[in-house]
Each structure stands twice: as structure tokens, then as C-alpha cells.
């Protein structure tokens, strides 16, 4: 993916993305046969490519499978895994399942929020880090778990997070 930061206003996270329509066609028509029922799966596949749902791609999807844009928007905002905003270079998800919660994951989210100045679901203005929370990754035995770019950090603590954020700030 290539893109440049949008210059419309300060701290704007929007990025102009070049959309590969051939790739979209492969996903929509070849992989899922243009079937409306597979819309969620198509959106997931598009999100895997761009790490979020770019507006242009969603509009194209709407045209091809003949589902109104409002319906796609409804689905995109209903399900937690879809994002209409670009994600940062790193994605840090803190598991907030019950076992992790009991072992202090709430405090970890608070700590990162405070230090990086972002609430869960948001990305730092320099597009380096997106903070997310996930309901449960099912690794309760090693709670609390933090997932950084799909790598699990078992039994994480404030020190683990500080290490990561120190490295991030040094980049």
C-alpha cells in the first residue's frame, strides 16, 4: 500500500490510498462470486489488504454487489473488527477478557492511553501506534495478555508496555 498523509487539516489521519481495483475484483468476484451474503467476508478481505476500509474501496464494493452504501456503513460500524480509519504502523491490543481484567488489564489500557495520549480504538497523530482492546483472545492462563502486531505477550505488565513504548518513541 502506498499513500501520503492528507493535508486537509492538522492532525488529520486520513490517508489518500491508491486502490487496486483488480485486486478488489479478485476478492469480490473471484473469491466470493459477487455474492451479497458474503459481504462481511469480502469486507474482511479488503480490510486485510489495507488494514482498514478505505472509502473508495467500500464505494466500489457497493456498486459491484449492488448493496446500498448505507447498508455497508451499517455493517462496518456494527461489527467491532471493522475500521473506517487507517491504523497505525503498530497495533497494540490489550486483552480485556475477564481473566485479564482481574489481573489488571484495565490499568494497562489506562497507562498506555495516558502516555500516548490516545483512547482505545484511536491512532497516534504520527500514525505509529493504534491502541485497541479485544474482548478475549482465549489465552486466559497467561493473563494479562497484550498482542502487538499479532505476537502474544503473555503475563504482560506495565514494564512490558513501557519497554515497547520507549522503543516506539525512540524510532
Amino acid at each position: 500500500m502506498s499513500g501520503t498523509a492528507c493535508a486537509c487539516r492538522e492532525n488529520c489521519n486520513e490517508i489518500e490510498i491508491e486502490i487496486d481495483y483488480n485486486l478488489l475484483d479478485r476478492i469480490i468476484r473471484d473469491d466470493y462470486g459477487g455474492n451479497k451474503e458474503a459481504m462481511i467476508m469480502m469486507m474482511q478481505a479488503i480490510q486485510r489488504v489495507y488494514r482498514f476500509l478505505p472509502e473508495a474501496a467500500v464505494k466500489y464494493l457497493s456498486q459491484v454487489i449492488e448493496v446500498p452504501l448505507t447498508k455497508i456503513y451499517e455493517v462496518a460500524t456494527f461489527y467491532a473488527s471493522f475500521s473506517l480509519e487507517p491504523k497505525g504502523k503498530y497495533i497494540l491490543s490489550v486483552c480485556t477478557g475477564t481473566a485479564c481484567h482481574l489481573r489488571g488489564s484495565g490499568g494497562m489500557v489506562e497507562h498506555i492511553s495516558k502516555r500516548m495520549g490516545i483512547t482505545p480504538g484511536r491512532t497516534t497523530p504520527d500514525m505509529k501506534l493504534t491502541l485497541e482492546t479485544v474482548n478475549c483472545v482465549g489465552a486466559c492462563a497467561v493473563a494479562p495478555v497484550v498482542v502487538i502486531d499479532e505476537k502474544y505477550y503473555p503475563k504482560a505488565d506495565i514494564a512490558t508496555l513501557n519497554d515497547f513504548m520507549d522503543r516506539l518513541n525512540a524510532e
Binding site: 473488527s81 475477564t98 505488565d157
Partner: protein, 633 residues
């Protein structure tokens, strides 16, 4: 996912099973090619063990055993398996045929295991399991109380079979029940057997499975068989382990159901947060189709059953059956009223039979061994076994399968090994976010785990989450956590659930912030009852359970928060602070070194002091103090 190394004798050439008898011949053929004396190295590769590094352990075993380092006669087989359930001790390695159990194995231990244990039959002491509060090691996996006290019916193959290799499952009997159903039973007989077993839906509601199948079979038109694998309860991972560890038992159960209700189309709705489960299932379906055990003309009988995987997109509500079906159709998952049940009009407005992963996984054994065998486990009203995800403040965290009706104290202490860090047990939360807290052992001495008994105690069976809570758990904060979770996950279409939850969250937030008022508890109780009575779907009608059950059993904690502005458990930050007890502090300096904000000062061997203006109340000092000198004030 890891690929299994091939056993020394490669499996027979794969051809489609042309008839059910061919499956048994194939199994015997596979059996005859196995060397019963060949060592097998079983490495648990469930999500918990993977997080602890088991994939690297498998890779290292492969490297050592295929390299020049290997000088034994028979090349051992490395078998990455699904979750063994004993996640807190991972990564786990079991050496067969001796059944030697090694825990917390790291990459650095692998060469030792190969050179000492496999080649010279020498046991490595430091990797052996020692139960909490005991000095004796337990060398064999089968003797460990955590496993020995369980009754593993559904989980029987997990940790034994390689989920990426269908031949291994066939060796352990997979698809033999499907063969039996297709050749020796009519669909009606299958339904009768399932009804006779008294199996009830394992997803939470506990609807009798046989009855559901029977109603679906009576319908006209195209029927669908759907598997609910949208395991969204935080702290529950039973279904994930089944899908990752023994996918064929679930697929076989679905195929048997399809035969019984007259369907040839199946859907599996899996949570996208379980990437490993999706991968394992995808490969399992492909392998089963290649052998003619799924897909068209199964085992030459003319019966077709095609299964498609659909992944969820992160909505808890999609675990509700009608919401799940809407989601399968590519729409938002909002439940609909159930005056027309989904067995009549469900997915695509067609009759649809939806069951949970664990329910389907029970089916093959019920068909093979009979309903009478199944109901010999458990109780009259709750037959069979149930898998629970035992988590929270307990020594042995992981999956446990027990007969219904077992004592909850036995699960926590007998199997779970009790509460760590010398803390006292405060209660057990069952049933996920919409379950309730059961205050064993102080307010209720014990309870037998079954659908009816749990409901009497104000909780639910749910899908099987079981969270042990110790004295450091604040019940108000726990209710706030669950209500907050449900606010986020409520679909928002019906008012009692949408508004009731938000109001309850507001009040609970206030109480945990130290701004609770007289009358808040009564108001919570009123809103909670209203929400439970007038919501549309199962999520809403149980949404207030965490609040109502904590009011019922832990009223004094609410009063302490509201009247005394104190959080007795030391969780709600504005309502407590930490102080170091000068009487017991030895000045060891551990708290000082653990404090991430350098709020603790003190010289070695002298009493330490916490600077309250810097303290972020992260618990590190409290958790780590060996002398319990950090006090909650």
C-alpha cells in the same frame, strides 16, 4: 500452523472411501503401519502454549531429530496437538509410550529431552510437574490430579491427535459414527438416540438437542445445519480448543445432524479472533472432502454434506442464534423475536438447526455408544459432561471436563488446585458476562453444577466460563466490568437492554468512583429486573444477572462503597490507597524495584514508604510483597 512430521512409515495412498466398510479397512491399514514402540513427542500447540512459545519448541524438536544429532533406531514422531487444557503450565510436552509429562518446556530444554529422555530413558527432574503445596513430583500425565479427576468424553482426543492430520483422527475412530448412522440407522433412529441421551444444548440455553433436531426434521424445504462457534464470552475458550484440537469430531457431529434432519448444507460461524481455529478447520474440511468423508456422495452412500466456514466480525451478539443467522446472510447481527423459531424459519428463511460446537462434538460418541451410555454420566436433568474454562484466581488454569452435578468446590480445589498466593476464595462467576457470581464457600457452602441448580443460585450454565475470584476481587467493579462489556455489545434495537444497561453502567461507575448515593442499590435492582424481564433476546434477558447476583450476595460491599467510601478489596482506585505496614516490612526492596513510577522510597532493611502523590495504584507492590506488608487502606 505447524505441519506434522511424517511418521517413519508413510500413510497409505489416499483414495476416496467408496463405502463405509472402506473406512474401517483404511483405519486398520493405518494401525498396522504404526510402530507401537516408536517414541512420540506430543507438544501442546493450543493458543495458551503458543503464547508461551510452543511453536518454537516444535521447530527445535524437528531440527534436533532430523539433524545429525539423532542416533536412535526409530525416529520419534513429533506431534503438535490442540490444547491439553493445562494452560498455566505450558508449553507442555508429553513423551509416549512412557506418558512422561514435562511442563514449561523451553527451546533450551529440547536437546536435553532428546538426549536424556528419548535416547536414554532418563527423566529430567526440573521439567516435571509438582502440584502446589507438595514436594512430590508426578511423572505421568495420567496421574496428575488435574487430568485424573476429569471425565474426558468430548475432550478425549484433544492432546492425543494431531489436528492437522486427518489420518491421526481416523486412527482414533473419527467418522466411524457417521458410517454407522449412514448404513445402520434411519434418520429417525439417530434423532431417537440423541433424544434418549438427554443431551442439552451446550451453548448456554440448554435446549434439548433431540427435540430441536426432531422439530427441524419435520419442516419442509431446504434445511441448514449451522454450528455456532462464535464463542464471545470473555474468559471462555472451550469451543476454541475443540476446533483447534479435534475439528473432526465437530464436523462429524454436524454431518450426522445433517443426515438426521435431512440437510446437505452446513455453515460454521467462527469468531475471527480465533485465527488458528479457522485455519485448522479449513484444512480439516479439505482433508475430509478428499477422503470422501464430507462433501458429495459421502462414503458412496449418496448422502451429500458440504460445510462452509464463515468468520464473525467481532460482535458478541452474533452468538445469539437469530443474530448469527442474520450475520451469515451478510447483514448486521440483530436478534429477532422468536415466536417463529429458527428450526422453522432461520437462515435464508429456511428451517435451520443451530447447535453449539460442544453439542456437535458430543454426537459421534452418542451414536456409537448409545444414548443410555451418555446419560449414565451426569444427573437426571443435566445429563453427560460439560467442559468448563476454569480461569481467574486459581492455580490450574485451563479446560476441565466434568460430569454434570459435580460439586463446584471440587472443581476449584480438587481439579483447580485452589486459590494461589494464600488468598481466600470469594466466589465463582459462571455463565460469562450475563451469568452470576456464586459466593462459595462463605455464603453458599457448595453447589452442584447443573442447569437447574445454577439458575436457582441466580446464575446460568452459559457456555462454560468459570472464573474464580479471590478476596482481592471487588464485586462492584466486576459487575461494572460485565455491564460495560454488555453496553458495548448490546445491539441497541430494544429499549430495556440498550437504556437499562447504560443507566446501570452510569450508577456503577459512580459507585466505583466514590460518588455512590443512598438508594443506588435499590435503583440498580429495579432497573436490573426491568431489563431482564422486558428485553427481546437472550442477551438482554440475562444482562442484569451480574448486577442482581452481586446485590443478592455482596450487598455489604455495595454499602461499603456507598456509605463508607471504601473499596474493601482495594480495586476501585479513588476508594483506597496502599500503605506499607512498618511492623512487618523487612525492607527487602522488592516493592521499590517493582514500582514502575518510583513512588516507593526506603533504605535496605528499613521500612519503605509510598509517596501517595506519585502512586498510580497499579498493584505491583501489593502483588509482589512476600510479607503482605503492603496494606489496602
Amino acid at each position: 500452523m505447524i505441519e506434522a512430521t511424517q511418521p517413519s512409515n508413510s500413510p497409505p495412498v489416499v483414495t476416496k472411501m467408496i463405502n463405509p466398510a472402506a473406512l474401517e479397512l483404511y483405519r486398520q491399514e493405518l494401525q498396522s503401519r504404526q510402530d507401537p514402540d516408536a517414541p512420540v513427542v506430543i507438544v501442546c500447540c493450543g493458543t495458551g502454549c503458543q503464547a508461551a512459545g510452543s511453536v518454537e519448541v516444535v521447530d527445535k524438536f524437528k531440527e534436533v531429530l532430523t539433524g545429525t544429532g539423532w542416533s536412535g533406531k526409530v525416529v520419534p514422531m513429533i506431534k503438535p496437538t490442540g490444547c491439553h487444557g493445562f494452560c498455566s503450565r505450558g508449553p507442555l510436552v508429553i513423551i509416549q509410550p512412557q506418558d512422561l509429562f514435562y511442563q514449561r518446556v523451553t527451546v533450551d530444554d529440547v536437546e536435553d529431552i532428546v538426549n536424556k529422555t528419548i535416547l536414554n530413558n532418563e527423566v529430567i527432574k526440573k521439567l516435571q510437574y509438582k502440584p502446589a503445596n507438595s514436594k512430590e513430583v508426578i511423572p505421568k500425565a495420567g496421574d496428575i490430579p488435574y487430568y485424573a479427576k476429569q471425565t474426558r468424553l468430548v475432550l478425549k482426543n484433544i492432546g492425543k491427535v494431531d489436528p492437522t492430520e486427518i489420518n491421526d483422527s481416523i486412527l482414533h475412530g473419527s467418522y466411524s459414527a457417521l458410517a454407522k448412522a449412514l448404513t445402520r440407522m434411519t434418520p429417525e433412529q439417530v434423532i431417537d438416540e440423541v433424544a434418549n441421551s438427554k443431551l442439552r444444548g451446550r451453548g448456554g440455553a440448554g435446549f434439548p438437542t433431540g427435540l430441536k433436531w426432531e422439530s427441524c426434521a419435520k419442516q419442509e424445504g431446504t434445511r441448514f445445519v449451522i454450528c455456532n462457534a462464535d464463542e464471545g464470552d470473555p474468559g471462555a475458550f472451550m469451543d476454541r480448543s475443540l476446533l483447534e484440537g479435534d475439528p473432526h469430531s465437530v464436523l462429524e457431529g454436524m454431518a450426522i445432524c445433517a443426515y438426521a434432519v435431512g440437510s446437505n448444507r452446513g455453515y460454521m460461524y467462527v469468531r475471527a479472533e480465533y485465527p488458528l481455529a479457522v485455519k485448522t478447520l479449513t484444512s480439516a474440511i479439505r482433508q475430509a472432502e478428499a477422503l470422501g468423508l464430507l462433501g458429495e456422495n459421502i462414503m458412496g452412500t449418496g448422502f451429500d454434506f458440504k460445510v462452509t466456514i464463515s468468520t464473525g466480525a467481532g460482535a458478541f451478539i452474533c452468538g445469539e442464534s437469530s443474530a448469527l443467522m442474520a450475520s451469515l446472510e451478510g447483514k448486521v447481527g440483530r436478534p429477532r423475536p422468536k415466536y417463529i423459531r429458527s428450526v422453522e424459519k432461520g437462515f435464508r428463511d429456511s428451517p435451520s438447526n443451530l447447535n453449539n460446537v460442544e453439542t456437535y462434538a458430543n454426537i459421534p460418541d452418542i451414536v456409537n455408544r448409545g444414548g443410555d451410555w451418555y446419560k449414565s454420566y451426569g444427573t437426571e436433568r443435566s445429563a453427560g459432561t460439560k467442559v468448563f474454562a476454569l480461569t481467574g484466581n486459581v492455580y490450574n488454569i485451563g479446560l476441565v471436563e466434568v460430569p454434570m452435578g459435580i460439586s463446584l468446590m471440587e472443581i476449584v480445589y480438587g481439579i483447580g488446585g485452589g486459590v494461589p498466593n494464600k488468598r481466600a476464595l470469594k466466589g465463582v462467576q459462571t455463565g460469562g458476562p450475563s451469568g452470576g457470581c456464586i459466593p462459595i464457600p462463605h455464603k453458599i457452602p457448595d453447589i452442584n453444577v447443573g442447569y437447574g441448580k445454577l439458575a436457582e443460585a441466580g446464575s446460568i450454565m452459559g457456555s462454560g466460563g468459570m472464573i474464580v475470584m479471590d478476596e482481592d476481587t471487588c464485586m462492584i467493579e466486576v459487575s461494572r466490568y460485565f455491564v460495560n462489556f454488555l453496553v458495548e455489545e448490546s445491539c441497541g434495537q430494544c429499549t430495556p437492554c440498550r437504556e437499562g444497561l447504560i443507566r446501570m453502567r452510569e450508577i456503577l461507575n459512580r459507585i466505583t468512583q466514590g460518588e455512590g448515593r443512598e438508594g443506588d442499590v435499590e435503583l440498580l435492582d429495579e432497573i436490573g429486573r426491568f431489563t431482564n424481564n422486558f428485553s427481546l433476546c437472550g442477551l438482554g434477558t440475562s444482562a442484569a444477572n451480574p448486577v442482581l447476583s452481586t446485590i443478592r450476595y455482596f450487598r455489604e460491599e455495595y454499602d461499603a462503597h456507598i456509605r463508607d467510601k471504601k473499596c474493601p478489596a482495594g480495586v476501585c482506585k479513588p476508594l483506597f490507597h496502599y500503605e506499607i505496614d512498618p511492623e512487618t516490612c523487612t525492607g527487602c526492596g522488592l516493592c521499590k524495584s517493582k514500582c514502575p513510577v518510583k513512588a516507593i522510597a526506603g533504605e535496605k532493611k528499613k521500612t519503605h514508604v509510598i509517596d501517595q502523590s506519585l502512586c498510580i495504584k497499579c498493584m505491583e507492590c501489593y502483588k509482589n510483597c512476600k510479607f503482605r506488608s503492603v496494606k489496602i487502606m
